[in-house]
C-alpha cells in the first residue's frame, strides 16, 4: 500500500499568472505536461480542501479544480474522483447540498466522492450492522507505526493521487500546506490526538500534542503519496485563518507552486513566503523520515525564481490575547498546541460572530492552560480545557467572599424605634463562585463550547450566537452525526 515517492527526481515549478486557472495550467506545462502525471485509463483521485460549506478561500478554488479535471480528462483518465473529509461533525452530503457540489463536479467531468458515505445513509434508515457493512466495504484499516487509520478504499485503489491545496494561514503550523492537506484523507475521528488525561506536565512541556499530530500527519501521508501536488496561493488568506474570520484578509500573490513531491512543494512555498523552515516542524519531521528533501539546491526548480518573489504575509497571532476581543480578557497558562488551536478558533469565532453578545455581557475572563493567572474582579470566568479547569480547582476566584452586616439588636425593633448607635458586626461569608463556565475537553470541541455558552449566558443575552446557532442547526444534523459516529467518521 505504501508508495515511496522518487525524491531524487524532485521537480518543482514556481508559476505566476493572471488567473488561478491559467497559473496552474502553466505550472503543469512547465513540469512537462499532464501526460507526465496521468496515463491513459488511470483512475485519478483529487484531494482538495473541503472544510466547511462556506465561500472561498475556506475550500479550494473551484476554477483551479475545474482546469485540473479538464487536463486529467485530456490525458485520458478513465475516472476522476474528488473528495476530502470535512470539519468534524459536518457531512460531505451537507456541504454538497449547500454548495451544490455533486452536480457541479458531474458537469465538469468528475465525481464528488462521499467518502464518509453520507449520501448513502441519508436515503434510508440503516441499522447499525448495515452501517458497519457499508463501512467495511468502503474503508480499509491501515496500520502504520502501530497506529490504525481508517482509509477510504477509493483513495488507496486509485492509480493516481493529486493534492490541490489552498494555502491559508494556520494557527498551529503557520500555513496550511499540502502535507497538512493530505491528513484529511482519514476521517476526523482518526485525526484526533489522544488527550492528556493525567495532566502530565511533560505532555505540555514537550508539546506532545503537536508531536503526536505531526507523527500522525506523516503516517497518513505515507499511506498514499501524491503524484502531483499543487499549492495554490494565487489568493492567500492571511492574518486570521484558515477559515474566514473578522481579521482575515485575502492577499493576491498570483503564484502557485506545483511539483511531484509534497515535501519539496511545501518547502518552496515556505521559502517564497519568507518562512524559515526551522519554524515549520512538519517539514523537518518529514525530512527526518525520508519523505522529502529540505535542501532547495537538490530540487530541480523550474519557472520563476525564489529570489524574484519575495512575499510578506501576516501570519496568525502567536498569542491568544492578541486576538483582542472586547470585554474579554485572555489569561493563558501553560498549554499544549491542542488547546491553543481550539482556543484560537473559539476566540476568533467570538470576535467575528458574537460582537453584540460580548457587548451585552461585559467583564469576561477567558482562562486557558495550566495554572493561568488569576483574574480579578471579573463577572464571568470561562475556563477553557481540562488543564484550566483542573489546575484552578483551588484558585481564589472559585470562591467569593460576601461581607454581611448584622445588627446585634432586633432589626425590626431598631427600625421602629430608629435607635441610633445599635452595634453592628461584620461577618464574612464564603460562597462558591457560580459565575464560572467550564468548557471541558482536551482539547474542547468548538461546537460543544458554543452550546455551553448559550446555556450559561442564556439565549436572551446572546442574540448573535442564538441566531448563528439556528443557522448551524441547518448544517449539523444530530441523526446524521450519529450515523457518522457509527461509520467511524467522528
Amino acid at each position: 500500500m505504501k508508495e515511496q515517492s522518487d525524491i531524487k527526481n524532485t521537480e518543482v515549478a514556481i508559476v505566476k499568472g493572471d488567473t488561478p486557472k491559467e497559473t496552474v495550467l502553466k505550472g503543469i506545462e512547465i513540469l512537462g505536461g499532464i501526460h507526465k502525471f496521468i496515463e491513459e485509463g488511470d483512475q485519478v483521485f483529487i484531494k482538495f480542501n473541503l472544510c466547511l460549506p462556506t465561500g472561498f478561500p475556506t475550500n479550494t478554488n473551484f476554477d483551479v479544480l475545474e482546469s485540473l479535471i479538464a487536463s486529467c480528462k485530456k490525458a485520458g483518465a478513465s475516472k476522476i474522483y474528488a473528495g476530502s473529509f470535512p470539519f468534524k461533525g459536518i457531512s460531505i452530503d451537507t456541504i454538497s447540498n449547500l454548495l451544490n457540489l455533486k452536480d457541479y463536479f458531474s458537469n465538469i467531468g468528475a465525481e464528488l466522492v462521499f467518502i464518509d458515505n453520507s449520501n448513502v445513509f441519508k436515503e434510508k434508515n440503516f441499522k447499525k450492522d448495515q452501517l458497519n457493512e457499508i463501512k467495511n466495504k468502503s474503508f480499509s484499516m491501515v496500520t502504520i507505526n502501530e497506529k490504525e487509520y481508517l482509509v477510504p478504499k477509493i483513495i488507496t485503489e486509485s492509480d493516481k493521487f493529486i493534492i490541490v491545496n489552498q494555502v491559508n494561514v494556520n494557527p498551529l503550523f503557520k500555513l496550511n500546506l499540502s502535507l497538512l492537506n493530505s491528513y484529511s484523507i482519514v476521517s476526523p475521528k482518526y485525526q484526533e490526538i489522544g488527550s492528556n488525561e493525567n495532566l502530565d506536565n511533560d505532555y505540555i512541556s514537550y508539546d506532545q500534542y503537536k508531536n503526536d499530530l505531526i507523527s500522525n500527519i506523516l503516517d497518513v501521508f505515507t499511506i498514499k503519496q501524491p503524484n502531483l501536488v499543487i499549492n495554490d496561493f494565487f489568493y492567500l488568506l492571511e492574518s486570521a485563518g484558515p477559515y474566514i474570520y473578522r481579521d482575515s484578509n485575502l492577499k493576491k500573490t498570483g503564484i502557485a507552486v506545483i511539483g511531484n513531491n509534497a515535501v519539496s512543494v511545501d518547502l518552496i512555498t515556505l521559502k517564497l513566503l519568507n518562512i524559515d523552515i526551522q519554524d515549520y516542524d512538519l517539514i523537518l519531521a518529514a525530512n527526518q523520515r525520508g519523505l522529502g528533501i529540505i535542501d532547495p539546491q537538490k530540487i530541480n526548480l523550474l519557472g520563476e525564481k525564489i529570489e524574484d518573489n519575495n512575499i510578506i504575509i501576516d501570519l496568525c497571532v502567536s498569542k491568544l490575547k492578541d486576538i483582542n476581543l472586547k470585554n474579554l480578557l485572555v489569561n493563558s497558562g501553560r498549554f499544549c498546541s491542542g488547546c491553543y488551536k481550539q482556543a484560537y478558533h473559539l476566540l476568533n469565532f467570538m470576535k467575528t460572530y458574537m460582537t453584540k453578545d460580548l457587548k451585552y455581557n461585559p467583564n469576561n475572563a477567558f482562562l486557558v492552560g495550566q495554572n493561568p493567572l488569576e483574574p480579578e474582579h471579573f463577572k464571568n470566568i470561562l475556563l477553557f480545557g481540562d488543564c484550566a479547569i483542573k489546575s484552578t480547582k483551588n484558585s481564589n476566584f472559585r470562591k467569593i467572599e460576601k461581607i454581611l452586616k448584622k445588627n446585634t439588636a432586633n432589626q425590626k425593633k431598631s427600625k421602629k424605634l430608629k435607635k441610633s448607635g445599635s452595634q453592628k458586626k461584620e461577618k464574612i461569608k464564603v460562597k462558591t463562585n457560580k459565575k464560572i463556565l467550564e468548557l471541558p475537553g482536551c482539547p474542547p470541541d468548538i461546537l460543544d463550547c458554543l452550546e455551553l455558552l448559550i446555556k450559561y449566558y442564556g439565549k436572551k443575552n446572546l442574540p448573535n450566537l442564538s441566531f448563528y446557532k439556528k443557522i448551524l442547526e441547518t448544517i449539523v444534523n444530530p441523526k446524521e452525526k450519529e450515523n457518522l459516529r457509527v461509520m467511524g467518521v467522528i
Partner: protein
C-alpha cells in the same frame, strides 16, 4: 452655438447674480430661472444659494473660471469665456476671452495640467488675472448639450433624468469634457461610468425606477441661512398609463410660510398642509452634505468595510429621530404605549435604538461566510406578475420572467465589476432544466459562479414600499406579508440553498423576526 433657451436662461442667472453684492442677505425676486440643463424653475435666489453652498464644497472653492470650447480633433480653440466670480461658484459676468492668449496643442486634452499652467501663465502676463479652474468642452459636447436641451421644459422628471444620465455618460465616456483641477465628484462620476463597464447609467435607473411605489413627499432641508423645500411625487397624471416623477424646489415664502419663531415640527406641519403631501421630512443641509462628501470620497470599487461604514452612518442618522431628522405625521411606532404592548408580546421595536453597529456587522458576517471573500454572484430580477400560470417545478419559467441579469464580481471583499448578462446569451436553446446549468455556462466565461439570487420585482416593490417609504409606519400585517414572500421560491430563491436561506424557509416569519430583532435593536444604550 449653444441652445438659445439655455443661453437665455444662463444670462438671466448671471444677471441676477451680478446684482447681489457680497454681504447681501436675502434677495427675493418675483422672477424664476431654470436650473441649467433641467426644466426645474426656481427662484433665482435659491439657485444662487445652491451654487454658493454646493460649488465650493463639491467643485472648486476658488474664484474665476474659464470655459474653453475646442474642436473635436483638439487642434483649435473655437470659443472661450471667462467668468469672473467674487464668490466661488457664483457666475455673474461672462467675458469672451481672446484666442491669442491661449495656444492649443493636440495633446492638451490629455495633459490638462500643463495646459492649465500655460493658460494661467498667459492670463497673468497679458491680463493680470488668475483663474482657479478651467472647463474644457469639445465641440461635440456642446452638440450633445444642445440636443439634451431640446424640449426639456415639458419633460417629466423621470424622463429628464434618463436624458441627463445619458448626456453625462456620453460626455465622460467619449472624453468630451474635462475639468481642471478635477473635483472629486467628477472623478467619482467617471469612476462609476468606467466601473459599469459599458452598462448604461440610465439602464440602472430603468431597473430602479419602476420599483418605487407612488408617493407624494416633501423634504425640508434646514439650515440657519436658508431653508429649502423639495416636493417629490410619483403620481399618475390624468389618463397616463405610467406614473410620472415630479420635482419642485422652493422656498418657504413661496408657500406663504413665515419661519419666524417656528420650530422644526411647526415648519413641517405647515409645509405638509400647504403641499398636501403624505409625509414631510425635515433634514439638516449640513448632514446631507456631509454624507454626500463622504460618499464621493470613497473609491467606486467599494470595499465592504467602507460600505458598512456608510451604512452605519445612515442607520445612526435614522435612529436619531427628532434629533437629526423629523417627520410628520409622527409615526405611531414611536408611541411608548404601543412599544410597551409590543414588548409584552416579545417584540422589542424601538427604532430609536436601532443597532447601527450590529446590523452592518451581521450583514458583513453572513455575506463573507457564505459567499466568501472572492465571489461571483448572478442577480436575476424577475417579473412573475406578467405570467399567471408558471410551472415552478423546473427553472424553465425563468426564460419568460427574467427582466434583468447582473453579475457581481467581488474580490477580497471589494466589488470590482458588474457585468450585465443578456437574456439571449443564457437562454439560447430554451431549456434550462436546472440552475446548475446556468452556473456551468456562466462559470465557463466568468469563472466559478458562487451563487445565483433570483428576486422578483413584486418582492422588491413591496420591500421598498413597506420598509423604505413606509419605514416607520405601524403596519404589521403588510410588513409580515412582505417578509413571508421571502419564503416563496417564486419571489426569492438562492442557488445553491445557503444555510441562511434554509433557515428563512424553515422558520416561521414571526419566529424569525423574534430571532433577528434582538440583533437589529439594542437592548439598552451604550
Amino acid at each position: 452655438m449653444i441652445n438659445k433657451k439655455f443661453q437665455k436662461n444662463w444670462l438671466k442667472i448671471l444677471n441676477y447674480n451680478s446684482n447681489i453684492e457680497l454681504g447681501d442677505k436675502f434677495k427675493l425676486v418675483d422672477d424664476k430661472v431654470r436650473i441649467p440643463l433641467t426644466p426645474i424653475e426656481v427662484n433665482p435666489y435659491l439657485l444662487y444659494y445652491l451654487f454658493e453652498t454646493l460649488y465650493p464644497k463639491f467643485i472648486n472653492s476658488q474664484q474665476n473660471i474659464l470655459d474653453i470650447i475646442i474642436s473635436d480633433d483638439g487642434k483649435k480653440i473655437i470659443k472661450s469665456y471667462l467668468y469672473k466670480t467674487k464668490k466661488a461658484g457664483i457666475h455673474e459676468s461672462i467675458e469672451i476671452f481672446p484666442h491669442d492668449i491661449i495656444k492649443v496643442h493636440k495633446k492638451d486634452f490629455e495633459d490638462i495640467e500643463r495646459f492649465y499652467d500655460r493658460i494661467l501663465g498667459g492670463l497673468i502676463k497679458k491680463k493680470g488675472a488668475r483663474v482657479s479652474s478651467i472647463r474644457v468642452f469639445k465641440e461635440k459636447a456642446i452638440t450633445y448639450i444642445n440636443q439634451h436641451c431640446i424640449d426639456i421644459e415639458d419633460l417629466p422628471f423621470d424622463m429628464l433624468l434618463l436624458k441627463f444620465l445619458d448626456l453625462i455618460q456620453k460626455l465622460v465616456k467619449q472624453d468630451l469634457f474635462v475639468l481642471y483641477p478635477e473635483p472629486k465628484i467628477f472623478r467619482f462620476l467617471k469612476d462609476i461610468i468606467n466601473f459599469l463597464n459599458g452598462y448604461q447609467l440610465n439602464s440602472l435607473f430603468k431597473i430602479f425606477y419602476p420599483l418605487l411605489p407612488e408617493f407624494n413627499i416633501s423634504i425640508i432641508f434646514g439650515s440657519q441661512e436658508l431653508i429649502i423645500i423639495l416636493h417629490l411625487q410619483k403620481i399618475f397624471v390624468s389618463k397616463s398609463e405610467t406614473p410620472y416623477l415630479r420635482l419642485k424646489l422652493m422656498l418657504p415664502n413661496e408657500l406663504d410660510i413665515n419661519l419666524d419663531g417656528l420650530n422644526e415640527n411647526e415648519i413641517i406641519g405647515l409645509v405638509r398642509e400647504r403641499l398636501q403631501t403624505d409625509n414631510t421630512y425635515f433634514i439638516n443641509q449640513r448632514d446631507v452634505i456631509s454624507l454626500l462628501t463622504e460618499l464621493i470620497n470613497l473609491p467606486v470599487n467599494i470595499r465592504e468595510e467602507n460600505l458598512l461604514l456608510i451604512l452605519q452612518k445612515i442607520l445612526f442618522a435614522y435612529r436619531s429621530f427628532e434629533k437629526h431628522w423629523f417627520l410628520r405625521p409622527k409615526p405611531i411606532i414611536y408611541n411608548n404605549l404601543l412599544r410597551f404592548l409590543l414588548r409584552i408580546i416579545g417584540f422589542n421595536l424601538n427604532l430609536r435604538k436601532l443597532s447601527h453597529w450590529a446590523i452592518p456587522d451581521l450583514i458583513s458576517n453572513l455575506f463573507e461566510s457564505w459567499f466568501g471573500l472572492n465571489s461571483k454572484i448572478l442577480l436575476i430580477i424577475s417579473d412573475t406578475e406578467k405570467y399567471k400560470k408558471l410551472n415552478l417545478n423546473n427553472f424553465n419559467y425563468l426564460e419568460k420572467v427574467t427582466d434583468y441579469m447582473l453579475l457581481f464580481e467581488i474580490e477580497n471583499k471589494t466589488l470590482v465589476k458588474i457585468n450585465s448578462i443578456a437574456k439571449e446569451d443564457l437562454f439560447t436553446n430554451g431549456e434550462i432544466g436546472s440552475l446548475e446549468s446556468i452556473r456551468d455556462k456562466l462559470s465557463e466565461k466568468y469563472g466559478f459562479l458562487s451563487s445565483i439570487i433570483i428576486i422578483d420585482k413584486l418582492l422588491l416593490q413591496n420591500l421598498i414600499k413597506h420598509f423604505v417609504f413606509e419605514h416607520s409606519e405601524y403596519a404589521p400585517i403588510s410588513k409580515i406579508r412582505t417578509l413571508k414572500m421571502l419564503k416563496k421560491q417564486k419571489f426569492f430563491y438562492i442557488f445553491p440553498e445557503l444555510p441562511l436561506y434554509k433557515l428563512i424557509q424553515k422558520k416561521g416569519t414571526i419566529a424569525l423576526l423574534k430571532l433577528v430583532l434582538p440583533i437589529l435593536i439594542d437592548k439598552h444604550e451604550f
